[in-house]
Symmetry: C2
Subunit: 395 residues, 2 copies
């Protein structure tokens, strides 16, 4: 049975309709794309990277300039990560302790101690609408002992975060501010299904206790530590293992994912939110997503191809420009190539998730559970049928 | 007395109001900027580089795809250079002969023989609205003997170009086509005022003879070989030397120029058209033009500066973003930095020339020659007064 579902997540800056894909705006910009272009393709929410922004231009600078929304000219919701993942992948000379993670900036070598409290403070300074807890994301593969150690630390850090976040919410309320950022917990456990399950259950316990004492608790849960080098089957297995332990009422977020196929699969496991650099990074490498399979725009077969990237696409690039022009811009290393390819790929992701929401709305209307199942299953089959037709498309 | 003037140049794709600045679209794109953005800032005409386009994607490819306008989605006039200047500055293993210039592509080493006839054919294939003759542009400094030799060759090539261009116009007319590209001659002569004068006079003679025999003649004249390393005084002296020998009725075009100050000076010498990579190249290097002097956006003083680049500017970047954000994008090497800076700088040039046209329209309305003089002179003085106020601006 499909667990795919249609939800609405409420934030201080308005609702987010899920399933949703969140373009990654690492350094206060979705690379090569303006916020006006993101709005034109009905982007609902973008992601900002705490690690990058704390180092440059600095979260205090952004706070002084009125917050990340004001700084980059984006009025809709922003989700910020905790910085933990980037500390592990980008920073130099890391040292883990109970307190937090000590690291050196990859830009200028400055030392920082990123604690759960500080990660939360930075995200408040940025004015994030969905704040993530600081977690420890182990590499792949890892021993069970190591996975458990990281998971236990992640849980203790989540507890510390709930306390500081609650304190800030109360301080903010005293100012009569309407700003009330949501806090999401993160489930770790590497490739061990029983650890994933345990982590989900223990975070929920924390949540319940916090709420019982009048606290905010978590407003959603992410599955972290995916797409770190594990095979696709393991990735799907871990998502499938964790998702059912997150109660229906919470939005579920698969961090750092993924390919279009990953979205279609994981939505089937009940995941609601996704973020990934794939559409923009692949765009800069000339890899374009289409409804009929993907295109490497540099290929010689497109030299005099006067067709748009995707005849079924309504993005402004497909409406105006042909493959031959886009191939030329790519080969000439023109900035316009990154611009156009990024717009097209982000539009592809926006359309894919909108189409899925439409299918799920039809599904929600049905009482009969067999019929519910059919809608998403039919969509999924047709999606795969088309996506593997790339040979037709390319000739 | 100022020679500044307000003209209209008619092309197959509509009129161009001068004085005008033409953004450079080297490889079928004004770097980092879309044609929609160029239209939004009321760009009237852009320039395409024959040398770059013949090598990549190839003019025959562009012809097959419907011409340069169709290829890049730009409907207004395009002026193309002859490729000569780039052959001298970019190509490898050049060999000059009476026939043309033999060179190797800087991209893949392919050999080409660029003749006056071939340079004309390429520009026809691109569908250019203003076609330039092939000329020889000597480096600076050069001996008088060498300058004369290059000038004589340029004149013989201009004669050959008139013949082939006329032939193509007649062939095109037989097809009932409305496409009638203009042909511009180019005045060379390096830093020798008497050679500049002689070149202008002899090209005019060629023009008169061609027209008397029912030919098209030239529709305008460019002053070539400027801004090749000579001091500013020499540059202005050469433009001042050549311009008066181009009769009033012809548009005058200073190729490859320039700084905002160069435009203001040369318009005063009766020049109508300009093209230059300065606004876009400097933009990518973080150099921004403003009415109150120029800004190096990377400077620390802009770290928390919430003001727009230029409070007097109505461009979309100044309307929405602050200096601190633009500084951040530049330091983070974000593509958005090149985009925003290019739009602002091109908008600055578009506004400068539009303001000058407005001033000259007032001037044209006046009978009294003293008063005519005053309008442009007042504009010029106020322009310099403001542009040297950069210290006020930056603090």
């Amino acid at each position: 049975m499909t667990l795919a579902r249609r939800k609405t997540v409420m934030t201080s800056r308005g609702p987010i309709e899920t399933p949703v894909f969140m373009p990654v705006g690492t350094a206060a910009t979705v690379k090569a794309v303006t916020v006006d272009e993101l709005e034109a393709m009905q982007t609902q929410i973008i992601l900002g990277n705490t690690y990058h922004l704390m180092l440059r231009p600095g979260h205090e600078t952004i706070r002084k300039l009125g917050g990340l929304h004001q700084f980059m000219g984006w009025n809709k919701p922003i989700l910020t990560d905790s910085g933990g993942f980037q500390v592990f992948s980008l920073a130099k000379l890391r040292k883990m302790s109970e307190e937090g993670v000590d690291f050196q900036s990859h830009i200028d070598g400055t030392r920082y101690l990123l604690t759960p409290e500080f990660a939360n403070e930075i995200q408040w300074a940025l004015g994030s609408d969905i704040i993530m807890v600081l977690d420890e994301c182990p590499p792949y593969p890892v021993t069970e002992t190591e996975a458990r150690r990281a998971m236990e630390l992640t849980i203790r850090w989540a507890q510390r975060t709930l306390i500081i976040h609650q304190k800030r919410l109360e301080e903010e309320a005293l100012k009569n501010s309407s700003y009330k950022p949501l806090l999401f917990g993160i489930i770790q456990g590497s490739h061990f299904t029983h650890l994933r399950k345990e982590c989900a259950e223990r975070l929920l316990e924390l949540h319940e206790k916090h709420v019982q004492k009048g606290g905010c608790g978590f407003s959603g849960f992410a599955i972290g530590g995916l797409a770190v080098g594990e095979p696709k089957e393991v990735l799907y297995e871990m998502a499938a293992a964790a998702a059912p332990f997150i109660p229906e009422k919470f939005p579920r977020y698969a961090m750092g994912l993924g390919q279009p196929e990953d979205l279609v699969e994981l939505i089937g496991y009940g995941i609601d939110m996704f973020d990934c650099v794939i559409p923009t990074r692949n765009a800069r490498n000339g890899e374009l997503f289409t409804s009929l399979g993907d295109i490497q725009i540099k290929q010689a077969q497109y030299k005099e191809d006067s067709r748009p990237i995707d005849e079924n696409c309504s993005c402004p690039v497909c409406k105006k420009y042909c493959r031959a022009y886009l191939r030329h811009l790519y080969l000439a290393k023109e900035i316009l190539s990154s611009r156009f390819n990024s717009i097209h790929n982000l539009h592809y992701y926006a359309t894919l998730t909108r189409n899925i929401r439409d299918v799920l709305e039809k599904k929600e209307g049905k009482e009969d559970s067999d019929q519910k199942e059919n809608y998403y299953d039919e969509f999924r089959k047709s999606f795969y049928r088309n996506r593997t037709r790339s040979s037709d498309n390319n000739h």
